[in-house]
Amino acid sequence: MLRKLLIGTALASGLAFAAHAEDVKEVQMLHWWTSGGEAAALNVLKQDLAKEGYAWKDVPVAGGGGDAAMTALKAMVAAGNYPTASQMLGYTVLDYAAAGVMGDLTETAKKEGWDKSVPAALQKFSVYDGKWVAAPVNVHSVNWLWINKAVMDKIGGTEPKTFDDFIALLDKAKAAGVTPLALGGQNWQEATMFDSVVLSTGGPEFYKKAMNDLDDASLKSDTMKKSFDNLAKLVTYVDPNFSGRDWNLATAMVIKGDALVQVMGDWAKGEFHAANKTPGTDFLCYRFPGTDGSVIYNSDMFGMFNVPDDRKAAQVALATATLSKSFQSAFNVVKGSVPARTDVPDTDFDACGKKGIADLKKANEGGTLFGSLAQGYGAPPAVANAYKDVVSKFVHGQIKTSDEAVTELVKAIDDAK
């Protein structure tokens, strides 16, 4: 008996030793952060991992963008060839988790205290069935105004606190001969702006019911109609040439002073930084009027796949490094977003970043942190895209009235569910 035990122990330790010896010191990563600022931000992570002895290997994606990467990921997973981790957004993580291909990082999460430091709203996407399957990298928020300060001073504007203030401010800009609102007429940009309009018009409770819970009564309500009316008002302040414009070109209009304001997520800040502009002196960041205290977020995640045992150590190292306070700070300073854990010091961030961190913390504690429907954090992709369709058709005139828009929205969402 004793002998058997001894042999067993010897074998087990031998196996453990063998497994340890064969650990692959490499992280295979699928992502589409290839442009200047993003690549620089990701370099921080590469260096952190290199210090621990893990090599970084990008999984090549033909064509670059997120869609191509997701198509590549689908093919890899279908072939049973999992990367260590992949950049993923919202419901994609849950889809893959439901398909049973994600790993389990619960132990690491416990050790590192992610349960307490990562906002609960984010955990909806990074925790599946009680298991940690993804490491959130950052939190973007979309209810921001980006304003050119020189233009603001010229027209004598002040921070708009309500939607009516905002309209008055846009009128002033119009009178001064500046394009008041820089908008890119692509469906996701229009819908991203509409997220903020709904929050501003209906308040936090209403936003949650309509845009996260997809409650029929709220979607049909007069408040939703009023939101569409408010959107129609905003659209009267764009230049005639807005249709199809890329978001960064709209940002460039604000940077150059051709336009007063853009409603866009905080990735717009990266464009201001790239043009050597400083918050406070060259540009201003305010919350969308009437949404102060709430945050509509989206977040980049690193989905962790169920890799073979010899790659698990590398995966744990990657996840730990991703959610380490030092990386969260260094990465998000460059990326323009805010850390995905609320206990990271804000010393290195600029004024807008500091406000973003404070707002996130407040929203998390007050229960006013909501997923952006336009960015795919409010509902699964089928619903989110149906929503974008309706908003875009309303902006471009295929849908003519707010009554019709509300009917179409309910129909489209029901159809996509």
Partner: protein, 318 residues
């Protein structure tokens, strides 16, 4: 008994053949052996995946393929969307755009290509320089064509802006920003790219026409117009067939042109069925609906091409 005898008799001539038969048989089989891999690849990757797509369209596949047949709900949804005209559903927009784009693109390319080819065929000087100029757009990818025309047609950057700066301030051309006209800009860019290639096809056809026939007609007193109308164009019929098939498949697979030129157009008003298919399969995780739309695209092209091929190819063995 007799059967054995006959079979033995039958065998003898084979045996009597010289040993070289292995070599000659190999020679006979060589084309088949060489073609076999590409044949197998075509069978699997074209026809196999067509069947696979048809199969998927009857499941309820979402993000990933699911294998349980659940009926024709995807087709039912497409059918309902076909009649959703006000406001137009994405599917309705896609198929009406396909009709407009397909018809204009093929018709204008054929007309313009033939016209240019006839002009170039007048034994003019510098043909060697002109021909490649018309042909080169075909060497560009749809993405390049799309982006170039996007800038050119953009009222704030391209044609309209330039003419305004030159003083013609009443000039107005904003089709690319207009939900009702954006599909016609796709036609313009598509025609610009393909008509030179069609011209080259027609030019080759014109060069293949026997000069004697033309001379005979001229001696009989045919005017130039009659010559082309009654003799040349009828003789070019096989070229029309090839050009039509090339254009039809280019039209139906135009996806990148729409994306690069219009990024879908205002409110999705420039979508073609291929954009619809990609959106639903890969972005909206509705693989069954995407597959169903792909099957309908296939059926459409089959419905057009098969009768045409049949009527054209039947006349050959006269």
């Amino acid at each position: 008994m007799s059967t054995v005898a006959t079979s033995q008799i039958k065998l003898t001539p084979e045996e009597a053949r010289p040993r070289a038969s292995v070599r000659s048989r190999l020679q006979d089989a060589l084309p088949k052996i060489v073609l076999a891999p590409s044949f197998a690849i075509t069978i699997v990757f074209v026809y196999g995946f067509i069947l696979w797509t048809i199969y998927l369209s009857f499941t309820n596949s979402k993000t990933f393929p699911s294998y349980a047949i659940t009926g024709g709900r995807a087709y039912q949804r497409l059918w309902n969307w076909t009649f959703d005209t006000d406001p137009p559903s994405s599917w309705y927009t896609s198929i009406t755009n396909m009709g407009i784009f397909g018809f204009l693109y093929i018709a204008i390319c054929l007309a313009l290509g033939l016209f240019l080819a006839i002009l170039l065929d007048q034994k003019i000087r510098g043909e060697g320089v002109l021909r490649p100029i018309y042909l080169y757009p075909m060497a560009l990818s749809f993405i390049v064509t799309g982006v170039a025309w996007k800038w050119f047609l953009d009222p704030g950057l391209g044609l309209e802006q330039t003419l305004h700066q030159w003083g013609w301030t009443s000039f107005h051309f904003d089709w690319i920003k207009n939900k009702d006209f954006v599909i016609y800009t796709v036609v313009i860019a598509g025609v610009w790219q393909a008509s030179g290639f069609i011209m080259a096809m027609f030019l080759a056809g014109l060069r293949g026409i026997d000069g004697e026939i033309m001379k005979a007609a001229q001696i009989d007193g045919a005017t130039t117009f009659q010559l082309y109308r009654r003799i040349v164009i009828p003789l070019l019929r096989p070229i029309f067939l090839s050009a039509f098939i090339v254009l039809a498949h280019l039209a139906i697979k135009s996806y990148d042109l729409v994306v690069a030129l219009t990024s879908g157009g205002p409110g999705g008003s420039a979508w073609l069925p291929s954009n619809f298919m990609y959106e639903y399969t890969f972005k909206r995780n509705e693989m069954a609906v995407g597959s169903a739309s792909a099957v309908i695209m296939l059926m459409t092209i089959v419905a057009i091409i098969v009768p045409y091929l049949y009527s054209e190819l039947r006349e050959k063995p006269r």
